[in-house]
Symmetry: C2
Subunit: 197 residues, 2 copies
Amino acid sequence: MRYPKPFQNLIAHFSALPSVGPKMAERIVLHLFKQEHERLLSFAESLEALQDLSLCTRCFHIAEGPLCDVCSDPKRDPSVLCVVEEPMDVIAIERSGGYQGLYHVLGGVMRTGQGDDPSLRIPELLSRIATEDVKEVILALNPTTEGDLTTLYLRKKLEPLGVTVSRPARGLSTGGDIEYADEATLTSALRNREKLG
Amino acid sequence: MRYPKPFQNLIAHFSALPSVGPKMAERIVLHLFKQEHERLLSFAESLEALQDLSLCTRCFHIAEGPLCDVCSDPKRDPSVLCVVEEPMDVIAIERSGGYQGLYHVLGGVMRTGQGDDPSLRIPELLSRIATEDVKEVILALNPTTEGDLTTLYLRKKLEPLGVTVSRPARGLSTGGDIEYADEATLTSALRNREKLG
């Protein structure tokens, strides 16, 4: 004997999610089964509502209309463009509150040895530089091998277009431990040391 | 700026699930956002379909009708009752294929120092013993302090009713390591050693 069909279907849906194994999915569905019907309905409705969202036609962040909240805000500085991998990165930078420019969500990074990835929005980025009044591009990709490779690639493409290209500083994390910082981070942090006073 | 409202709602629903933190919920919703609409709809429908399931009126396992698959199977032996904490335990025992009796899902175990928990289906268990032709009750609760406490409590309630009360053997796990077995398990395994040949 196994679980009834609707139960099995839901376990399969949860198991397909990132970082959710079959045992965890089973536990989640059992948890949901004990919930009130209204909560289940509201969960199901929220899932369906995800369909009404789309990608911003300008920067490819998640949007409720044709433009996302950042692109439709007239107070943002259109001369600075921050290139990120995923919408989650936009949210993280927005949470920090320290950035006033616009974004461009690349949709990932280049994989080594795979050549040009057509799913990356590099042509759209170059077309924005050509048509919008962009002066600086900040390449805020994840500090991984692939991220650094993509940063290098984009830098070569962007510099001939006459824009300043930068990337976020590498250094110690606030609240972190020098003892546990990796060698590359420590080297960057010491080389790019900030003058006090 | 934060995520659009439907996105936030869904993150809240996922964050409320067991073992899912807010960051993981964010990642899951982003993953779902990239899925095809049909997949999302099917996920939402599976969630709603959970409402059509109920608890077996006899043993409290998950059921599509009034009785679960085990209780409605005439080939099962109604003289043996296996008491478990949750429906997941029924599924685990059924998967092992070695049990032919019926079940009783208790709905949890007693918490130390809280007295009788009205949510546990102990009265329903006693009433089954009184009305059905039960000869043996296997108390297959989790081998935890609370599980053992509940086993002790149920044993005292059941033995005067003239049924044999047992619990699954404690011993080494197949494929396990003696080196890593805890002291209580090793003591049980040695005391209840099986004669070979």
